[in-house]
Subunit: 365 residues, 2 copies
DNA sequence: TTGCGATGTGAGAACGTTACCACATGTTCT
DNA sequence: AGAACATGTGGTAACGTTCTCACATCGCAA
């Protein structure tokens, strides 16, 4: 492995017979330069195969043209698609993209942020893993522009991108009720959150919804579920909630199997996100149930395979790529100096109907 | 947005009453330092919230502790999973990960490499989009360690990670033949490659296999398909090859639909990668065919949903995460100074049997 | 002619680290 | 006792850019 030394501005300047200042101006595209010297410098740079060293440039300009992305887990299709949107906006503008995983732990997130800020990124896009404990985020925003994605954090006034989970879930469950479903199961990981018991959360939703601060998307979707029941005067039956203990498909599958085993089980399942949906599919497959004949299904978050298995799965599709693009665009505006108030962008969801919901009744009774 | 100035080593040194050299030694963990001064410096650093500026450090040490990853398309599960493996190895060692997409074009790849090398990455993991045109890669390896993933490049002697696609495909097709299938369809994007007509490629495989240089995985899998036929004395029928014109699900679907429309069609389909499999599934779904009753299916590359749709889909699973880990490990060894001959690591594949192949006959005839 | 802005050039400082050297101490081995 | 060596410290030169000057020259209006 040969390690040839890269040519520097000084090398180019020497070869072109000009000062490093002049060579710098030509190659960096700033300040004045005459056509004559310009050609000399460009020729010399070409000959030497000169490549600017962004490190040195960044050190003095104070901007790296690199942004950081802290994902929960990059291998999940949710983050992967967002990432693609981010990089689509960044690449044409010459920005680099540094990624890390938080693995949904605060420690991982802090470590990620430490790494990114030591590398002097110009901005950070992050999906916070804790909606309350955010001292480290509060510290970060003092020095670096930040955009939150998917989730928000209490008392952290920064730009964010997401969807209106409460409204989308409510609309979805209302539709199920309208189509005659009375026993609607919900599959969600509701372990970590502001409430340890669901009853008191439901009470809060009914009595003082404004008092609910920043909560995870899963809780928001559950909130929509509750609201739809209340709006349609359908009594809540919390035994229909498959409350998954950990964020894993195995646990989800086990919990859903238990729910399906009940004598007076649900006629339809509403899953709160992609991973819940996968675990639910496993449980349905294992019990040999057919969709929608034996059980109906609607999923929050659309996944590739939902359109090509028979029948297709109904889903609420989040515009993941667009979310990434919006986050990147907002961040670049901030980096460019935009200093307006925090923007909370809510993107519209897509209502995918493919035939996984059995219509038990139509019209209004 | 407040922009507080970060504390520097000079600030810490002043506050601790020592020289910048001493402060640097303590904070950088190199050279000597007494316990007394150490405590002073650490206290001062703590007070000021000192964070080392990796830019300045990298400029003088010549190493950034950042590596670059050039993927075809990060949003595809193939690359997303690999990426996860890479970052799992990198993160504990304190390396950053800079990602770019080539979108499978040489221009995109060159642009990616330009960006990465200007940012002075210590090494690059790359899935080359062209197995022949590689002048830019040859130039890169002169200055930067590189590991190829999934594909190899002719005359480029660097470390690489992948699977033995030829052998895996051959074993898979042999099994189909053993189970009684005689008309085996293959779905693959074989547009770009060394051969424009398939006949001459087949001739080459039969007469001079060693003369075939570096080829894309799709071609390798097709090669395995040919070899299995030859080994089992099953005549090749090239009308069974769904040769997709572009790397898109829509095109794949259309091509497969055409194949399925033929009077004497295949009894089983063998797909060359994840995207081909998705397009094929769409075609099968559109025609209302049932797996495996109406048509059997085996896929190269395992996808999440294959295990939980009924019936499961048989697949050849690549250890994607392990591939990423291996690539990262090899790269770090090179960065650490390892200077042995290029290693071509072939990881074993997984043979997933789930019931998507109809057994037409057993035993050997 | 003088004044003045636009254009062009080079010397040298600056960015925040680590590398290198000189110069102190001790401590241990001949 | 003197040499050799590990330990500890500070000054200052790197690293490769851009930034800030000072200082030209030119054209043009007053």
């Amino acid at each position: 492995m040969v390690t040839k030394r890269q040519a520097t501005i000084a090398d180019v300047a020497r070869r072109a017979g000009v000062s490093t200042a002049t060579a710098g101006r030509v190659l960096g595209g700033y300040g004045y330069s005459s056509g004559e010297k310009r050609d000399l410098v460009l020729k010399a740079a070409e000959d030497l195969g000169y490549r600017p060293n962004q490190l040195a440039r960044s050190l003095i300009t104070g901007r790296t043209r690199t942004i950081g992305f802290v994902a929960g887990d990059i291998q999940s299709p949710f983050f992967a698609k967002i990432l693609r949107g981010v990089s689509d906006v960044l690449e044409p503008k010459g920005f680099g993209l540094l990624i890390t995983n938080s693995d949904e732990t605060v420690e991982g997130e802090m470590e990620s942020i430490r790494l990114l800020s030591e590398k002097q990124v110009d901005g950070v896009i992050l999906s916070p893993c804790d909606v309350e404990e955010a001292a480290h985020l509060r510290k970060l925003v003092q020095t670096t522009p930040m955009v939150l994605i998917d989730r928000q954090v209490a008392d952290l006034d920064v730009d964010s991108v997401g969807v209106d989970s409460v409204a989308a879930a409510e609309a979805c469950v209302r539709r199920l009720i309208a189509e005659g479903h009375r026993r609607i199961g919900m599959v969600a990981e509701l372990q970590f959150g502001p409430w340890t018991d669901i009853e008191s959360f439901v009470r809060m939703v009914r009595t003082n919804p404004d008092g609910i601060g920043a909560i995870y998307p899963s809780w928001q979707r559950f909130m929509g579920y509750v609201r739809a029941h209340d709006a349609c005067d359908l009594p809540l039956d919390l035994s229909l909630i498959a409350r998954v203990n950990s964020y894993s498909t195995e646990d989800t599958k086990a919990t859903v199997l238990r729910l399906l085993g009940h004598p007076d089980g649900p006629s339809v399942l509403f899953t709160a996100d992609g991973l819940m949906t996968e675990g639910t599919m496993m449980a349905i497959f294992e019990r040999g149930l057919r969709i929608p004949d034996d059980i109906s299904l609607v999923a929050f978050d659309d996944l590739d395979w939902m359109s090509f298995i028979g029948p297709g799965i109904d889903s609420i599709g989040q515009p993941r790529r667009k979310m990434g693009e919006a986050a990147a665009r907002m961040l670049i505006e901030r980096i460019g100096g935009f200093d307006g108030p925090p923007r909370r962008e809510k993107l519209p969801v897509r209502d995918n109907r493919r035939g996984s919901v059995c219509v038990l009744a139509t019209g209004r009774d």
